[in-house]
C-alpha cells in the first residue's frame, strides 16, 4: 500500500475494488433513493500493525487488514443496517436490499437535506505511522526497555507496545454526495512491573494521536521550559515513577471528601459525569439524567465544557465524522448552563436540531451514534498551588485508569492510578486503590475552584458505548470539587 493511494479515498476504492462513484450512485439510487429519510453507504479499509516488547525483546508482531461496507436506511425512528466484508457489487446490492427492507414498511417523511460542508485537514501526514520502517519501531521499543531498567533497579518487567493504523473511509448518499477521509492513528504504551522486598506494583503510561511515528522521538513543543525530554523517554519515566510511588502508597480513605483533580487526563471526569449524558440519543429517548434540562444550570458558573473534534492531530479529532459531517467545536455547558447536545443525523432529525459532527462508529460493522471527540473544560483563573492550599483535608488525584457511567441515573465511577492525601493544604502521602463515585448532575455543581492550567491528555483514551470503541480525548485544568465519594478501604 502506498501513501499517495490512501490520500485519495475515492480513487482508492475505485482502484482496488472497482467501486466507481457512478457504480455507488447507481447502487444507492436504485435501492434507496426517495424511499427513506436518510440512507448512506460507509466503505472502510483498515490496515493496522502491533509490535510488543517483553523481556527485553520484540517477540510479538502482527499486521491486520480489514475491509467492509455498512449500508444504512432510515425511516422515522427505524434503522435498517447491513454490513459485509465482501465489497463485490452484487454483495453490496444484497446488503442494500436487507437494509431497505425495514424502512420499506413506512413512507418517508420530508427529508432534511444536509449540505456537505467543508471538511477539515487536521492530520494529513507525509508518512502514516503504519508505514514507518519496522526497524526504527523495534529500535524505539528496545530503547524504552533499556531506559526503564536504567531508571530504577526495582524494574523487573517492561512491556512496551506500539500500535498504528491507517483507515480509509468513504461515505456516500443516494444524492450522489460522497466524502472521504484518511485517518492515521498511533499509540505508544509502556507498562512496568517493579518489585521491592517481594512486593510488586504496576505502572503504565503512553500517548499518541493522528501523528507520524517521529512524534514519539520529539520533545513536547511548548513544554521546553520544563526541560521535557523526548516523548518516549517521558512516557517511560512516568510509568516507572507511577509504579514505584505505588509501592509505598497507603490505603485510600473511604467516604465523602474534597477532591482536587490535576490537569489533563483527569478530564475523564467530564467524559463520564456529563459527556455521555449529553449525547443526543439518550436525550431523544429521555433516558439520560440530563434529559429535558437544556437551558438549565447543571454546573457551577466556573464550568464551561467543550467537545471539539477539530484540534489538529489529536486522537479524538476527525475531519468529518462517520456520517460525513465536518466536525466542530461544540459548547456543551457554558458558565454552568447546559447549552448543547452532541448529535448524529438520526437524533438531530428526530429532535429537530442539526448534526454536530459527533456521529461516530467503531467500524463499518457498526452503525453510527452520537459520541464524544475531545471533551474538556476551559481554564479558569486560579493558581493550581492555591487550589491545593485551600483544602484542609482531601484527596489530590492526578492520574486515572478507566471510568464508567450509568446514563439513566447519572452515577459515574472512575479509578485513580495516582493520588495523594492533602493534609493542611499540602500534598502528602500517596494512596492506592482510590475509586471516585459521584452523580453526574451534581458533581459539576460542586466545582469551587478552576485552575489556569488547562491540559489535554496524552492521547490514549478509548471510549466504549453499546459495545463500540472509538478513540477520544479529554482535558481539564486543575479543579477542586467540594464533596465526592472516595471508595477506598480506610474507614
Amino acid at each position: 500500500m502506498t501513501t499517495n493511494k490512501l490520500a485519495r479515498p475515492e480513487r482508492f476504492f475505485e482502484d482496488r475494488f472497482g467501486l466507481t462513484s457512478s457504480a455507488l450512485e447507481r447502487l444507492l439510487g436504485s435501492h434507496l433513493a426517495g424511499r427513506v429519510d436518510h440512507a448512506d453507504l460507509f466503505l472502510e479499509y483498515r490496515v493496522s500493525e502491533e509490535l510488543t516488547l517483553e523481556e527485553g525483546a520484540v517477540k510479538k508482531a502482527s499486521r491486520h487488514v480489514s475491509q467492509g461496507a455498512g449500508i444504512r436506511a432510515q425511516s422515522g425512528e427505524r434503522t435498517g443496517y447491513a454490513h459485509t466484508d465482501d465489497l463485490a457489487l452484487p454483495n453490496l446490492e444484497e446488503a442494500a436490499r436487507q437494509a431497505r427492507a425495514i424502512a420499506d414498511q413506512t413512507s418517508a417523511s420530508t427529508a432534511v437535506a444536509i449540505g456537505p460542508g467543508r471538511p477539515h485537514d487536521l492530520y494529513t501526514l507525509a508518512e502514516p505511522p503504519v508505514n514507518a520502517a519496522l526497524d526504527r519501531k523495534v529500535a524505539l521499543l528496545l530503547k524504552m526497555d533499556a531506559a526503564a531498567r536504567a531508571l530504577d533497579p526495582r524494574v523487573k518487567q517492561v512491556i512496551a507496545s506500539l500500535g498504528s493504523e491507517d483507515v480509509v473511509v468513504l461515505i456516500a448518499t443516494p444524492s450522489g454526495w460522497t466524502v472521504g477521509d484518511v485517518r492515521p492513528l498511533t499509540r505508544l504504551n509502556v507498562t512496568v512491573i517493579v518489585e521491592e522486598n517481594g512486593k510488586r506494583e504496576i505502572g503504565t503510561y503512553g500517548g499518541g494521536g493522528r501523528v507520524p511515528f517521529d512524534f514519539f522521538l520529539e520533545a513536547d513543543r511548548g513544554e521546553a521550559d520544563r526541560g521535557e525530554a523526548d516523548r518516549w523517554r517521558r512516557y517511560t519515566s512516568e510509568a516507572v515513577r507511577q509504579a514505584t510511588i505505588k509501592l509505598h502508597a497507603v490505603e485510600a480513605p473511604a467516604g465523602e471528601m474534597t477532591v482536587v483533580l490535576g490537569p489533563g487526563w483527569p478530564g475523564i471526569l467530564l467524559h463520564e459525569a456529563v459527556g455521555h449524558g449529553l449525547e443526543g440519543d439518550f436525550n431523544r429517548k429521555q433516558t439520560s439524567a440530563f434529559s429535558g434540562r437544556m437551558g438549565q444550570k447543571v454546573a457551577s458558573e466556573l464550568v464551561t465544557v467543550i467537545d471539539d473534534g477539530t484540534i489538529a492531530n489529536r486522537r479524538g479529532s476527525l475531519n468529518v465524522d462517520d456520517e460525513g459531517i465536518p466536525t466542530r467545536r461544540n459548547v456543551l455547558i457554558e458558565k454552568g448552563v447546559l447549552v448543547g447536545y452532541m448529535q448524529d443525523r438520526l437524533n438531530a432529525r428526530l429532535m429537530g436540531g442539526e448534526p454536530t459532527g459527533n456521529g461516530r462508529r467503531e467500524s463499518y460493522a457498526h452503525q453510527p451514534m452520537p459520541r464524544m471527540t475531545n471533551t474538556f473544560m476551559l481554564a479558569g483563573q486560579d493558581d493550581p498551588a492555591d487550589i491545593i492550599r485551600s483544602v484542609p483535608h482531601g484527596l489530590y488525584a492526578v492520574n486515572f485508569g478507566g471510568g464508567q457511567v450509568d446514563i439513566t441515573n447519572g452515577k459515574f465511577v472512575f479509578s485513580a492510578s495516582e493520588a495523594y492525601l492533602i493534609e493542611d493544604g499540602k500534598v502528602t502521602r500517596p494512596v492506592k486503590g482510590a475509586t471516585l463515585i459521584g452523580s453526574g448532575p451534581e458533581a459539576l455543581t460542586r466545582v469551587s475552584r478552576v485552575g489556569h492550567d488547562l491540559k489535554l491528555d496524552e492521547g490514549v483514551g478509548t471510549c466504549g458505548k453499546d459495545g463500540q470503541s472509538v478513540p477520544v480525548g479529554v482535558g481539564l485544568p486543575t479543579i477542586r470539587i467540594d464533596g465526592i465519594t472516595v471508595g477506598g478501604t480506610q474507614v
Binding site: K60, A101, Q157, Q404, V405, D406, T435, G487
Partner: protein, 444 residues
C-alpha cells in the same frame, strides 16, 4: 474453509516459514431491536476473518485479513513472514507437540441448524414481546432502552503445518430487555437477558421481560449509605465477575510477566474451603464449549481452585513452556496470534440457600451491579462502584447506589463465608450467590 487454510500454510512454507498455523472464522448474524413497541434497528451482518501465525525458526509473527481474494491472502502470508524476520528469536516459541493434538473432534452439540428458520418478522416479534412484558409489568416502568433479539451462526476452522485440520460450527441466540423505571422524577435502568446455543432453550420473552422489570423496579428510591465495614453478598452475576478476576490472574501471560496477585501460589490455599472453580470446555451445548483449543489441542475439564487450593493455571503452549509446565489447552486465537482464554468457567455451587446467606447478615450489602475498572491484577487491590440492596437484620431493606466496595481480591476470596446452591449458566462464566465476610463500603 480447510482448503483455503491448507493453501495458506503451503504458501507460508514456500515463503520460508518453518512452521505455521491458521485460524478462520466465518459468521452470519442478525439482530433486531424494538423500542417502545416499534422497530428501532434491524441489522444483518456477514463477516469472515483469517488469521495466520508463522514461525521462522524461533521467531514468530502474525497477520490477519478479512479479504480472502488471492492477492490479499498472498499479501497476508508475505507480511507475516517478513514480520517474523524482525522479531527476536525465542527458544520456547513454536507449535505444540504434534502428539498432543486432538485426534477426534468431539460432538459437543454447539449448533442449532433449524434454530435460524424464523423470519425477520418473527424475530422482531420475540424482541417486541420481551420488551412488552417489561413495559406492562408495572405502571412505574415508564420508558425503555429496548428489547433485543440476536442470533448468529459461525464456522471455525483451524489448521497447523504439522498436520492438523478441523472445523466446527456453532449457533447462538439471545434475547434481552432493558426497561427504565421512574418515580418522583428519578429514573433507574436495569435489564435481563438469556443466551443459548439452541433457540428452543431460550427463556420465554415474557419471563425475561418481567425479570428485567422487577430488577429495574427494585432500584427505585436508591440512596447512599454511610461508610462502613460490612459483609457483602454478591448476586450470581456479580459473583461471576470475581471468578473472571481469578481467571485473569491464573492466565499464563499474567504469571510469567509477574503481573498477577496469584503468582507463586500454586498448591496454596488462596480461597475459603467452600470455593471450587472449574473451567470445563467439554460441556455439551455449553456457550464456552469448543472441540479443540486455538492450537488444536483437545479441550479439557480443568479444576483451577479445589476447595480453596489453587490447583491449576490456565496455559497455552508458550506460557506453559515459560512456566515449565504443560499447556492446559486454553489457547485462544486473536488476530495478533495466540492468547489464553477460558471456556465454560464457573464457581461450583455450594449448599446454602441464597435466602439464608442474606438472612445471616445483620447489616450489609447485597450487590447487583458493579461499575468501573478499579481492579489491580498485580496486587489484587479492588475498588469498584456498586449498586444493590442494603441488608438490615437479614432482610433486603432498601436499594442503594453511589457507593463503592473495596478490599483485596486475595482477602476477599479467603473471606468467602458462604456459597449458594443457585448456579445457573447464563453466560460463559457463571457463579452462584457468594457471601464475602467483610469489605469496605464507601458512601456518604
Amino acid at each position: 474453509m480447510l482448503d483455503l487454510l491448507g493453501d495458506v500454510l503451503k504458501r507460508a512454507r514456500e515463503r520460508g516459514a518453518t512452521a505455521a498455523d491458521a485460524f478462520l472464522v466465518e459468521d452470519r448474524a442478525f439482530s433486531a431491536q424494538v423500542r417502545l413497541g416499534r422497530v428501532d434497528t434491524v441489522k444483518h451482518a456477514r463477516e469472515q476473518h483469517l488469521s495466520l501465525r508463522v514461525f521462522s525458526g524461533k521467531s514468530a509473527a502474525a497477520a490477519s485479513t478479512s479479504d480472502f481474494s488471492r492477492t490479499s491472502v498472498e499479501r497476508l502470508v508475505d507480511e507475516a513472514v517478513s514480520l517474523s524476520r524482525i522479531t527476536a528469536p525465542d527458544e520456547l516459541s513454536g507449535l505444540p507437540e504434534a502428539s498432543g493434538l486432538a485426534r477426534e473432534i468431539p460432538a459437543l452439540d454447539l449448533d442449532d441448524p433449524t434454530g435460524h428458520d424464523l423470519s425477520p418478522e418473527e424475530k422482531i416479534d420475540l424482541a417486541r414481546r420481551c420488551e412488552a412484558a417489561a413495559l406492562g409489568a408495572d405502571p412505574r416502568i415508564t420508558n425503555s432502552e429496548g428489547g433485543d433479539f440476536a442470533d448468529r451462526r459461525a464456522r471455525y476452522a483451524y489448521a497447523a503445518s504439522h498436520g492438523f485440520a478441523a472445523e466446527y460450527g456453532t449457533s447462538s441466540f439471545s434475547l434481552s430487555a432493558s426497561p427504565v423505571a421512574s418515580e418522583n422524577g428519578h429514573m433507574q435502568r436495569d435489564g435481563w437477558y438469556h443466551v443459548t446455543r439452541k433457540r428452543a432453550r431460550l427463556d420465554s420473552p415474557e419471563e425475561i421481560g418481567k425479570t428485567a422489570a422487577r430488577r429495574a423496579l427494585r432500584r427505585l428510591g436508591a440512596r447512599q449509605v454511610k461508610t462502613a465495614r460490612v459483609p457483602v453478598v454478591f448476586d450470581p452475576e456479580m459473583a461471576a465477575s470475581l471468578v473472571r478476576h481469578v481467571a485473569g490472574a491464573v492466565a499464563g501471560p499474567s504469571l510469567y510477566r509477574g503481573a498477577s496477585f496469584l503468582l507463586d501460589k500454586l498448591g496454596q490455599q488462596i480461597a475459603a474451603p467452600g470455593v471450587t472453580i472449574i473451567d470445563d470446555g467439554t460441556i455439551s451445548g455449553g456457550l464456552g464449549s469448543r472441540p479443540f483449543d486455538g492450537e488444536g489441542l483437545p479441550v479439557l475439564r480443568t479444576v483451577v481452585v479445589d476447595k480453596g487450593v489453587l490447583t491449576s493455571y490456565l496455559l497455552d503452549t508458550y506460557s506453559g513452556r515459560k512456566l515449565g509446565m504443560a499447556s492446559t489447552h486454553h489457547a485462544a486465537r486473536d488476530g495478533s496470534g495466540v492468547t489464553v482464554g477460558t471456556t465454560n468457567l464457573y464457581l461450583a455451587k455450594g449448599a446454602a440457600d441464597p435466602k439464608d446467606l442474606i438472612g445471616s447478615v445483620k447489616q450489609g450489602l447485597y450487590v447487583t451491579e458493579l461499575i468501573g475498572f478499579g481492579v489491580n491484577g498485580v496486587t489484587g487491590d479492588y475498588s469498584r462502584g456498586a449498586v444493590g440492596m442494603w441488608i438490615d437484620n437479614g432482610e433486603l431493606a432498601y436499594p442503594v447506589e453511589e457507593i463503592t466496595i473495596a478490599g483485596n481480591l486475595l482477602d476477599m476470596l479467603r473471606a468467602i463465608e458462604g456459597v449458594g446452591n443457585d448456579l445457573v449458566f447464563r453466560d460463559r462464566t457463571a457463579a452462584p450467590t457468594v457471601l464475602v465476610g467483610r469489605m469496605t463500603v464507601a458512601g456518604a
